[in-house]
């Protein structure tokens, strides 16, 4: 499901501008499945699906696949509508160098919100 982020993010010029200082490799865990998202100057350069052998990353986000599915719904239920809502409910784990994540928090929240159907 994370593959679709590449086109959606790169087509959003305002979002790319917001993330213009973002260079990071983000590992996303959806249950046992891993994705590696490579960000350069606010664009997503690549989305690769695992498995990987010893994947390096700037930071990593892990949640159950079902939780990502609920997060990605057009109208998510309370508690599934924001990365920090998942964090508060202990459904999301964030690890690694969090500086680029927190310094660009509006950007990364919008990137993951792009999992939702367009116009949602």
């Amino acid at each position: 499901m994370f593959e679709r982020l590449q086109d959606r993010v790169n087509a959003d010029t305002r979002l790319v501008r917001r993330g213009r200082l973002v260079d990071a490799v983000v590992l996303v865990g959806a249950g046992e499945t891993r994705y590696r998202l490579t960000f350069r100057a606010g664009r997503i350069e690549a989305v690769e699906k695992g498995p990987f052998v010893m994947p390096g990353c700037t930071f990593a986000l892990h949640a159950d696949a079902e939780d990502w599915d609920r997060f990605a719904e057009a109208r998510p239920a309370p508690g599934y509508h924001d990365l920090f809502a998942l964090l508060k409910r202990r459904r999301l784990r964030i690890e690694g160098n969090l500086h680029p994540f927190m310094a660009n928090l509006f950007y990364f929240k919008a990137v993951f919100a792009a999992l939702r159907p367009e116009g949602a």
Partner: protein, 283 residues
């Protein structure tokens, strides 16, 4: 085209809070029962712009929304550059009492949101007889930290992180203009101020073990909570009501988040007006 001027006036008052001189900004509108409005952590009184402009409310209530010291157009106390701001329960209670006394308010209603929704519980416990009623929006007895608060005040992270942290507390259905107005207030907060408010919200202001001392018969308490708020979820407010032990019936607001008066004023007034009617009916 002539400008439309709102029926809201703003003033600066000078008063002492805990023995220190303060310059505090407040806005007011209307006549009648004083209704003091307390904003959320890291924001300011502009969150109550719609309440101040609501003729159905200002016909019967003198609505007063002040910016807490360090917030909005209120100044920090002289010497602020030498201290780290960290709000405590005692300082917050004393601040509300000082403002009510300085404005010579007769048994006002106090309505607070988030940290304001917490402090009304402290006021109910300690000073019930001084208030006509208390309204808690997004009231909880405590909140466990769920992210590292140090990110909110670092020279290498812009202060807009405060707005980004709270952005998910606005419900998905709230109007875009009001959502981003609400977040703009957070973008404008002074360095370290949101974090300093959260010292009260997440650490010092825990009132779980004192809820049973609150007696709604002495001062009625109304609790309204948005369903999309994960900082203070409806179950947290239900826990408050259970802790008080009866006499409080929390209301869950559909499609509403953590900032009801600011993120979706039209939807919020439908929940607030019956509460204000009930307060007026009691006299």
């Amino acid at each position: 085209m002539a400008a439309r001027i709102e029926p809201v006036s703003g003033h600066y008052m000078h008063l002492e809070i805990e023995g220190r001189p303060h310059r505090v900004y407040f806005e007011e509108a209307g006549e009648g029962i004083p209704l003091v409005c307390l904003h959320t952590a890291g924001a300011d009184g502009r969150q109550y712009r719609a309440i101040l402009n609501d003729p159905e409310i200002t016909r019967h209530f003198r609505v007063i929304a002040y910016d807490m010291p360090w917030h909005g157009k209120s100044s920090p106390p002289a010497g602020w550059q030498e201290e780290d701001y960290a709000l405590t329960s005692r300082a917050y209670v004393n601040q509300v009492l000082a403002v009510c006394e300085a404005l010579d308010l007769d048994r006002p209603v106090v309505m607070g949101c988030s940290i304001g929704g917490r402090i009304v519980l402290h006021l109910a416990e300690e000073y019930a007889d001084r208030f006509r009623a208390l309204i808690g929006l997004q009231s909880s007895a405590h909140v466990d930290p769920y992210y590292d608060l140090d990110w909110l005040h670092r020279p290498d992270v812009h202060g807009e992180v405060c707005a980004a942290v709270v952005s998910g507390l606005v419900a998905p259905a709230s109007p875009e203009a009001d959502r981003w107005e609400t977040l703009w207030h957070y973008c404008q907060g002074g360095p370290g101020i949101f974090k300093g408010d959260l010292h009260f919200y997440k650490i010092d202001g825990d009132i779980r073990d004192r809820l049973h001392r609150i007696d709604p018969a002495r001062c009625p308490i109304h609790l309204l909570t948005g369903e999309y708020d994960y900082s203070c979820a409806p179950e947290d407010t239900a826990e408050v009501a259970r802790g008080i032990g009866g006499g409080v019936e929390p209301v869950t607001m559909k499609d509403m988040g953590h900032f009801p008066m600011s993120e979706n004023p039209d939807a919020f007034r439908r929940y607030l007006l019956p509460v204000l009617d009930a307060i007026r009916a009691r006299g």
